[in-house]
């Protein structure tokens, strides 16, 4: 069982080392692949120094393009499971083995680490009220549109099995990809599960999603979900 951790990082020079170290401690058997999304700081050097596989994108593609680079690497290298962990240190990697196990045991093709399923964890970051409302709305749209029951569709802390790796390597939304990619997976008939995880607030840097962006996020993802193609076109995506 070969597992790859995909760590997308854009200007995460200050946190990437500790994220990699935490990953190694929590899941020593997992290969780590940092995807440097055209960072302008020392992210690439920090990752190289940590001795992980570094996928260095020559231009900034955004989170979707970066994560997909990782999925393509996982597919081409024949990994059985790929886990996504953000490079900003928000994801508590002690939950990683549980996510991997769910996929490895064949209980699901895609497991989403959720802040909202399971009992409420003390001290865990659950985001602001308005964001939770947005997340609940996306969750409802996903359920109605493609029958996927996911309480935390914006979570970027996920584990993917072989079939999901193949699918995401072929087709992955370029921006604000998390909810839409769940829809893509559901449409492809993949089994989606959710496990409770803990997330922290950001250690460094700014969230990429401010107020105006939040609105764009909701509109864009809503449109994407409504316009979701019924079938995946053959071959690689073209637009």
């Amino acid at each position: 069982m070969r597992v790859l951790a995909i760590v997308p990082a854009f200007n995460e020079e200050r946190s990437i080392r500790s994220v990699v170290a935490d990953l190694r401690r929590a899941a020593p058997a997992v290969d780590v692949c940092v995807v440097d999304d055209g960072s302008t700081d020392g992210t690439a050097e920090a990752a190289r120094a940590a001795g992980v596989t570094l996928l260095s994108l020559p231009v900034n593609l955004g989170i979707g393009g970066a994560v997909q680079a990782g999925y393509r690497w996982a597919r081409d290298r024949g990994y059985d499971v790929a886990v996504q962990v953000d490079g900003d240190g928000q994801h508590d990697v002690s939950f990683l083995p549980a996510l991997i196990e769910e996929v490895a045991a064949g209980r699901a093709d895609l497991v989403v680490g959720s802040r909202f399923s399971g009992p409420r964890v003390e001290g865990a970051f659950r985001s602001t009220w308005s964001r939770r409302a947005g997340i609940r709305y996306l969750s409802a749209v996903l359920r109605i549109r493609c029958g996927a029951r996911v309480l935390d569709p914006t979570s970027g802390f996920r584990a993917a099995g072989r079939r999901t790796i193949e699918l995401f390597a072929r087709s992955y939304p370029p921006d604000y990809p998390e909810p839409e990619s769940i829809a893509v997976a559901a449409r492809a008939g993949l089994r989606i599960a959710e496990l409770p995880v803990r997330m922290a607030e950001r250690l460094h840097g700014e969230s990429s999603i401010g107020l105006g962006r939040s609105f764009y996020y909701l509109v864009k993802v809503s449109m994407a979900l409504v316009l979701l193609p019924t079938r995946l076109p053959p071959g690689e995506e073209t637009a």
């Binding site: 992980v52 596989t53 570094l54 996928l55 994108l57 020559p58 231009v59 393509r72």
Partner: protein, 139 residues
């Protein structure tokens, strides 16, 4: 060619402007800033507009045919529609290009990683020193 539909001055001005526009497009093609393929739509529409400028009667007849009260309204309508279609076609092309760039960047990153692993492997072999901890990405 001379009709009472539009004043001679306007006719001359439009033809001159269209000629300049056409020369500009040709220049862009010759200096390879615009591909011949992409220039065709501009060349053809400019020629079409020139024909209409030379024979304004065509426009008047077409306007009546589609129920416009004034030929100028028909012209504005057609121009707006034409530009909208053009912009949409360009947006499609730009989306396709974005997808291609994404693919190329990903491929580039993955080739870079392979090359680095290869070099690191060769270096550690040359020096007969222990592995620097870079995991071998190959299965």
């Amino acid at each position: 060619m001379r009709t009472d539909l539009i004043p001679l001055e306007l006719q001359v001005v439009s033809i001159v402007v269209l000629a300049i526009f056409l020369l500009w497009v040709v220049r862009l093609v010759r200096t390879q800033r615009l591909s011949l393929r992409d220039s065709l739509v501009w060349v053809l529409t400019t020629l079409l507009a020139t024909v209409v400028a030379l024979f304004p009667g065509i426009l008047v007849r077409a306007a009546h045919l589609f129920g416009f009260q004034l030929a100028s309204n028909a012209l504005f309508g057609a121009a707006v529609l034409y530009l909208a279609v053009n912009v949409l076609v360009n947006t499609v092309a730009s989306s396709q290009n974005a997808a291609r760039i994404r693919r190329l960047a990903q491929e580039c990153a993955s080739l870079r990683a392979e090359l680095e692993a290869e070099r690191a492997g060769r270096r550690s072999q040359d020096e007969l020193s222990p592995d620097d901890g870079t995991p071998d990405p190959k299965p």
